[in-house]
Structure formats: structure tokens, C-alpha cells
Symmetry: C2
Subunit: 335 residues, 2 copies
DNA sequence: GGAGTCCATGTCAGCCCTGTCAGGTACGGT
DNA sequence: ACCGTACCTGACAGGGCTGACATGGACTCC
């Protein structure tokens, strides 16, 4: 059962390879009747063009690359699912590349991928979105890329969300419940998400006329463990906060865990809320109040913009998607 | 900055393209001195072979495909990480394809990928491992594949784990704590994992001389929600079990959630344990007793076996990896 | 010393497509 | 009748690499 090639189809139809190619690539200059005859033959022979041959001849790969640095698996899986959906819609394929953005050979590794596979574009996820040398390198080489939640959204195409505003809204929610002593577990200070959410927390306090208290601002690193550690410190304070806004769900879940460990009732004694609305937010007890980011949609939208640019189908932009508050049982009025 | 090709390297060294090719492909018939000169030129020019050209000429893609049907994201991410590690070691790349194994065009979609990208091999994850038409199709077409935890491990290469034995060991653990009324939340009856873990549960009961009670065997579907539903049914029984073995962590976490909802103390009133040791197992309260599957390693080992077959480097096999009991705070003696 | 063997290297065609450009037809306007 | 234009189609030449085979020199063996 040898491979069916474009020549076989051409022979069957009684035309040239080029015409078959045109039909397959939706070239406008083909008569309707020819289009139909070709389509019939393609279906009959079950012909499918070989990607590597197409790539070589057309000098593009029909593939985009998704680069990520170990954030939470559920985040990446959601992004990946969205990217794949958008790729599929344009008959593109996706290759994924996990990377360590702190590694000394980081940029080199990306260059390696670029020169071996020549992806037509890249999707960058935080924190890779903000790696100056990488961005330089991509711009110099003219490789199109789209970013998800980059720190400098003006400079790129992709997708973003008003995280600062959302964080402020979350603090407002706590304030409206009656809380006055509201702590924040900070995210990674290098990540845009960490910076924006902290800024939003401050906005929220300011709007409510509350003073910032350094003791109530504990550094975390967007991980469950760092949430546990931060919560232990907060619980050790002489005057405990009555509400805690963690910069992501993983840390919020860690905070809930540490509260359980210490026998502190949530939300009875302390309210806790997070950010992201990952799967785990509804699987812990009590269900976590959080801000929903439509991560899958963000992957999809970013990819759509990337493909607009790659395929020259118009002006690609930085798209903004909306957050949604998810008020659940982990927040309640203070005791 | 035009692309550096193999011809540029050949010109620089003063030899033929073929010799460069031989060096790059580790062909044995090259003199040491030539090998070094070529290596130097490759490094100097920063040359990297173009994958699509290699694929076209060599009639192989230097790529394997990972097929999955929406299991839990953390499971897939772990498998994917393992597969990527093993690929990298052999300078292979990976493409992923999420699929719906119940879809009517399932096999056709896989065939599409096969003929377009010609992956040199496939990694199958449950439940795709057990799709008879797909296996037929792959065998007919001679496409190498490796399976992770297939239902019929004798017939394939890949990786497996003694799940039945592990499930029995878990029941034994509960029995040793003094439990006599032990319930089971079943996994998907179509999945090998569901079948083996149920069998192991029965083995465990039998070994302890305990009778099976149909009321204590509640159907689940390997999802959090199904675990919640199953737990609600168990809690409604006139004589509640004192321990519950859920066929996976997601369902166990669902059971813990439903217990919290009902105000039932874990492990005070009921002990709960799961299977898999996914991330969430240590993030819920109380931390979940479970069986650890080395999922990442499994992805890696399966890929190694696949590449052994693909590269004809010996006899590929069905590898067995070990489980480990993780006894945590969710199990304790009955009240 | 001649045949056989082995190894290192080179030549050339071809993998399967698409870009380029030329050719050919149909139709409308002058 | 002629030209211009628009549209459709085909011939051809690669894209960058490797497989098959040829070549030529060094070495072995009787």
C-alpha cells in the first residue's frame, strides 16, 4: 500500500500536479468544475498532502510552537487545548516545547527549535512572554509570535485580561462583606500576574480607605507550598487578618490547607480567596471564591491573532478578554 | 541572514554534502579527522538540519505522536513531560493530538494525522490503548506504537503497573487499620484501570475474609463530580461504610468534598483513599492516602521502548514499573 | 604480485510538493 | 479584425536532505 501522492491524483483527474495543488490550497484561480473533479479524486484516492514536502516546497511549516515554562499543569493544559482548537480550524498543527526560562541556554534552545522546525509562529505564555533576550531574538529574526498576558501588552499581539482591575474587585468584595484587615499573599514578583494583582490589591485597599500593613503582605511564588508557608506566617501574627487574598488559586488552596492544619475555620474565622479559577477551586472545601480567567479561550484567541498575522489576513491585535467574579463559600463576613 | 544549508557546510569544509550528512547522522564510516572538521564547521556556521527536508529525503519524520482522550489534565501533562524527555534524548520531537475516542470519525482522524505527518511512532494513553479498530488500523499500516497501561499488555510494547495488586494492597491497608465495612467507588467500567482496581478491591476483601456487599460498590466515572455523587449515595446508606476506596484520586477528592458538605469527619468517621497520587492528593485536607503511579516515568519509559522499536535498536518490551503506597492522614482506624 | 577486502568519500537522483512564469482560452471593447 | 484583459492551466525547477551506488586508495593474504 504505497503512498498516494499528488501525481497520482493528477493522473487520475488528467491534469497537472499544480492544479491539484491549487485546489488543495484554495487558490482562487480554478474553475468550479475542475475544483469538483479534483475534490472527487482526492476523496476517492484518500489523498492527503505530506506535510514535510509541503513545508519544504512552500518554505513554511504549517505549524506553530507553544512555549511554556512549568506553570501549573492545569493552566498549561487549558492553554494547549485552546491553541489546538484554533490550529485545527486553520489546518495548522502545534508543537509544544517546555523550557526553563532561567536556564543559561534558554534563547539558544528556542533558536534551535526555530531553525530545525521553522514554526510559522510561536505562542508565548508567562513568564516567557517577558524574556527580553528572547523577544529581541524573535523580532530580529522576524518570527511572528503572540503572547498570553505579557507584561507589556502594547508591544505585542495576543491576549490579555485586566488583572489589576479584577484584583481590586476582589478586594472590594471582601470589603463589602465587612472585612477591614485584609492580607495579600503575593505572587512571583517577576511575573506580570504577581505585579498586577498586588497593584490591584493596593487599589482595592486605597479605594476602601484602608491602610496598607506590611505584615499583611506576604511573599509567595504562585505555588501550593508557598501558599502554605505564607498562611502559617499570617496565622502566627498577633492580630490575624480576617480575610486573605491570594494571588492565585494554588496559593489560596495552600492557605486553606494550612488553616485546616491549624484548626482555623474557613470562612468562619478567616475568609480566603484566590485568582484564576483553576479546576481545584471547586474541588477544595470550602469551594474557593476566585476570579475566573478564561484560559482556554485565551489560548485560542492568542492563536487566532497569531494566525491572522502569519497568514496575512489583516491586522493582528492585542485582544482583551473579560474576567468574571466567582463568589463561593470560602468568603463570608468576618466573625 | 539566509538559511545555512548543508551545502554551505560542505563548501566550508571542502567536502561533499553527503559526508556532512554522514557525520550528522553518526554514520560509522567517517574518519575521525573528518568528523572533527565537520563538527567544527557545523558549530562555526551554527548549522542545523531542516527537519522537513530530512523527513522528505529519509522518509521518516523524527517525530512521535502522543494521542490522548481527555483524562485528567495533570495525568496528561505528566505523561507529556515524560514523553518529551525521552524524545529529547534521541533528538526526536513530539506532536500531541487530543481525540475523542467515542467519536465516529476517531480512526479516520488518526489516519489523517498518520498520512499528513507520518509520525515514526505513536504513544497511546488509556482509553485509546484499547480501541480495537485503532489497534487494527495501526497494525495493518505497520505504524509502531507503545501503550501506557493497556488492557492487554501481552500484545503490545509500552509500560504497565500491577494495578490489581496495588488495589488489593490498599484494601489490605484499610483492613489492617481495623476496617470491616469497606466500600469501593468504581472507575469507568470500560477502562482497564476501572476493571483492575475493582478486581483488586475484591481480592482484598476475599483475602480478609470479608463479604462483598453490592450496596458498597458504587459506580463512578473517574471524575470529581462522579466521586461527589457516589459519596452522597454512600452517606445515605442506613449502615455507612467506615472506609472507602475510590478508584482514583479525583473521585476520592470528590468523596472528601461530599463528606465535608455533609459534615462528616474524615478520617474520624470515615476513612477515604484513592489511587494515582496526583498533585491534588497532597493539597486537599486531610492529605489523601493513595497509590503512587510514576506517571511521568511511565511516559518516558513507554517512549523509550517505542524508540527502541522505531530505531531498530533491539527488542522493545512491555516494561513494568512499581507502585508505591502513600499512607497519609485520610485513613485511620474506624471510630 | 594479483585478487580480494575494507573503509572513506563522492556522485547523482529523487523524496513530494509549490513558486514562478509562460501559454492558452474567452470575452469585451474599439 | 485586433488588442487588451481576465482568468485558468501547465511546464519546470527547485526547496534541503539522504539512499543507492560508484570510486579509489590502503591493506591483507596466499
Amino acid at each position: 500500500m504505497a503512498r498516494v501522492t499528488i501525481s497520482d491524483v493528477a493522473r487520475t483527474v488528467g491534469t497537472s500536479k499544480k492544479t491539484i495543488s491549487r485546489v488543495l490550497n484554495n487558490d482562487p484561480n480554478v474553475s468550479e468544475s475542475m475544483r469538483q473533479r479534483v475534490a472527487a479524486a482526492v476523496a476517492a484516492l484518500n489523498y492527503r498532502p505530506l506535510t514535510s514536502a509541503r513545508s519544504l516546497a512552500a518554505n513554511r511549516s504549517f505549524m506553530i510552537g507553544l512555549l511554556y515554562d512549568n506553570r501549573s499543569p492545569s493552566y498549561i493544559m487549558e492553554v494547549q487545548a485552546g491553541v489546538l482548537e484554533a490550529c485545527e480550524a486553520q489546518h495548522y498543527s502545534m508543537m509544544v516545547q517546555p523550557l526553563v526560562s532561567m536556564a543559561p541556554d534558554f534563547v539558544e534552545r528556542v533558536e534551535d527549535i526555530l531553525s530545525r522546525h521553522r514554526p510559522d509562529g510561536l505562542i508565548l505564555t508567562p513568564p516567557i512572554t517577558d524574556h527580553p533576550q528572547l523577544l529581541d531574538c524573535l523580532r530580529r529574526q522576524g518570527v511572528p509570535f503572540a503572547s498570553i498576558a505579557p507584561r507589556q501588552p502594547e508591544a505585542c499581539i495576543g491576549v490579555m485580561l485586566r488583572e489589576r482591575e479584577a484584583a481590586a474587585a476582589m478586594v472590594e468584595h471582601l470589603v463589602s462583606l465587612g472585612h477591614r484587615r485584609i492580607a495579600h499573599i503575593l505572587g512571583d514578583p517577576e511575573h506580570g500576574a504577581g505585579i498586577w494583582r498586588l497593584a490591584g490589591y493596593r487599589d482595592g485597599l486605597a479605594r476602601a480607605g484602608l491602610m496598607e500593613d506590611p505584615a499583611y503582605m506576604v511573599q509567595g511564588r504562585f505555588s501550593f507550598e508557598s501558599g502554605v508557608a505564607a498562611m502559617r506566617r499570617l496565622l502566627a501574627l498577633p492580630l490575624r487578618p480576617t480575610a486573605i487574598f491570594a494571588a492565585d488559586d494554588d496559593m489560596a488552596v495552600g492557605a486553606i490547607w494550612a488553616a485546616a492544619e491549624a484548626g482555623v475555620s474557613i470562612p468562619g474565622e478567616i475568609s480566603i480567596c484566590g485568582f484564576d479559577d483553576t479546576t481545584i477551586a471547586t474541588q477544595v472545601w470550602p469551594p474557593l471564591t476566585t476570579v475566573r480567567q478564561p484560559v482556554r479561550e485565551m489560548g485560542q484567541r492568542a492563536t487566532q491573532e497569531l494566525l491572522v498575522r502569519v497568514l496575512n489576513k489583516g491586522e493582528a491585535r492585542m485582544v482583551e478578554v473579560d474576567y468574571e467574579m466567582r463568589i463561593r463559600a470560602s468568603t463570608a463576613p468576618p466573625p
